[in-house]
Amino acid sequence: MTAGGHERRWAIVILAALALLALLPLTAPRDDVLNFVFLILLAITLAESWNIVAGYAGQVNLGHAAFFGLGALVTRMLWTEGAPVLLAMAAGAGTATLFALVIGVAAFRLRGAYFAIGTLALGEILRTTVGNVLPEISTLPAATIASYRLTQRFYLALGLAAVSVLAVAALATSRLGLGMRAIREDEEAAESSGVGALSLKLTALALSTALAGLAGGLFAYYHISYYPSHPFGPHWTFDALLMTFIGGVGTLQGPVLGAILYIVLKEYLALRWVDIHLLIFGALFVGIVLLLPGGLVQAAERARGVLGGARRAA
């Protein structure tokens, strides 16, 4: 709330950058450029959505992929049956949120590591179930492929990333966000200051999973063919987690910076060291958690502090 000015400035910077990106398709770029930026935008949405529950309400949700997957599943089904894509995505997000609320009431009885393990199990249960029930690859019909426009997907991803950033910016500067951060700092003390922890944690989860469900829907709209269990894979959760921590958990700009760095690095590393790039990410993550628990955002603050100190000394 007092940091509101800071968050608002970052929101403006990020939204301005996204607005500039809206001009990209007009320059008639190669498809691989659009695809690459699309991946970054999807990653921003996913990371910001994870950040709401982890960074603000302080609960590490390791089942995020379940909600991304549910969004993808429902959207793909409705859209391929002929529903307008935005409606299908809304239904996907609604399903993910509803499921999250049902699960959340039970899962939030667990604290700390137990909540993390419980949600991880949930994601894996859904992934296995979907893999068993829908083992066939899902491919778009030939007619849809023929009319496939990458630009539409790109703008949808851009809009969704902007919505995520706006949602987190609004949260960060609101009474609701303050209550969530109080829970993150000390749940018992928050409760005794009047904060209803369960309902706020559920609100955070609902907001987070609605965005994750929309991101899943975008994935379903974007990919021509994939196994229905693929968007339920745990790597979606851990990608979001890594990006958020690399950038700075509990900040507005952190997940955005983390998502950009992560996708750029991943593309580069995957190209050069096909198999060991995951090892490199693992090491990077361990390094960040140990040395810079506040991620890039904290690194920037420290650098500014050191530079400021040097200037004062000079």
């Binding site: 709330m1 303050l178 109080a182 005794s192 009047g194």
Partner: protein, 246 residues
């Protein structure tokens, strides 16, 4: 009608009766002290009233309304605020934000701009205003206690629970803390305080109840309580025993 009525309250942990059949009442504007040796059930009693624990039996009425077993945030909204024995400010939030949480979620629930004004006023009263923008983690112990008090007061409580507010303070700081409490009571606040520093309690409270092994063994003015043979036995008896053993 008393503001707080505690009636035959009991709470056990496994085989231990931490609070056993305790009853007392507290009038509006009164400062009631609770004392007792370690493990006598003072903090459990506090946690029961504040909603952090649910009683096994008994009633807790605030202005006639039963609040026993209600979750802590509802108890806070009903008008009970507390500080913690080991201070628990929200370390990652700023000093001002800490107080705003109490203001925006407690009994008052004003608009944000009014809340900021009121939070700043409380910080000024408690001498923390210059540090409003700093993270609470940077405060010293006495300032953290001030902050917890500000956060509790921001909820507009009808009853304030102070759990060993003086613990860990040096004599000068203790005197400051006592001044703060005296000012609150002078301003009409109803206070229930657990305190280990007996002389501070004797000085502040006009009525004291004494707990021993979860049971209330005395209830009355400080002088009467201090002269009560049961109380002397619980405090000095134990001390004398320790000395003979050593």
């Amino acid at each position: 009608m008393p503001l707080l009525e505690v009636e035959r309250l009991s709470k056990g942990f496994g085989g231990v009766r931490a609070v056993s059949d305790v009853s007392f009442a507290l009038d509006e504007g009164e400062l009631l002290g609770i004392m007792g040796p370690n493990g006598s059930g003072k903090t459990t009693l506090f946690n029961l009233i504040a909603g952090a624990l649910s009683p096994d039996a008994g009633r807790i009425r605030l202005a006639g309304r039963d609040i026993a077993g209600r979750p802590a945030h509802e108890v806070c909204a009903a008008g009970v605020a507390r500080t913690f024995q080991l201070v628990r400010p929200f370390a990652g939030l700023t000093v001002l934000e800490n107080v705003l949480v109490g203001r925006l979620y407690g009994r008052a629930r004003t608009t944000t701009s009014e809340a900021v004004t009121e939070a700043r006023r409380l910080l000024r009263v408690l001498g923390l205003e210059p540090r409003a923008g700093e993270p609470a983690a940077r405060l010293t112990l006495i300032d953290r206690k001030r902050l917890e008090l500000a956060r509790a007061l921001a909820t507009s409580p009808r009853l304030l629970l102070l759990d060993e507010f003086m613990a860990g303070l040096n004599p000068v700081e203790t005197a400051t803390a006592m001044e703060l409490v005296r000012d609150l009571v002078a301003g009409g606040m109803t206070v229930l305080m657990v305190e280990h520093i007996v002389w501070a309690l004797m000085d502040l409270a006009r009525r004291i109840i004494v707990l021993s092994a979860g049971e209330k063994i005395a209830d009355g003015p400080p002088a009467a309580v201090a002269a009560d043979p049961n109380v002397v036995d619980v405090y000095l008896g134990a001390a004398v025993e320790r000395r003979t053993r050593a």
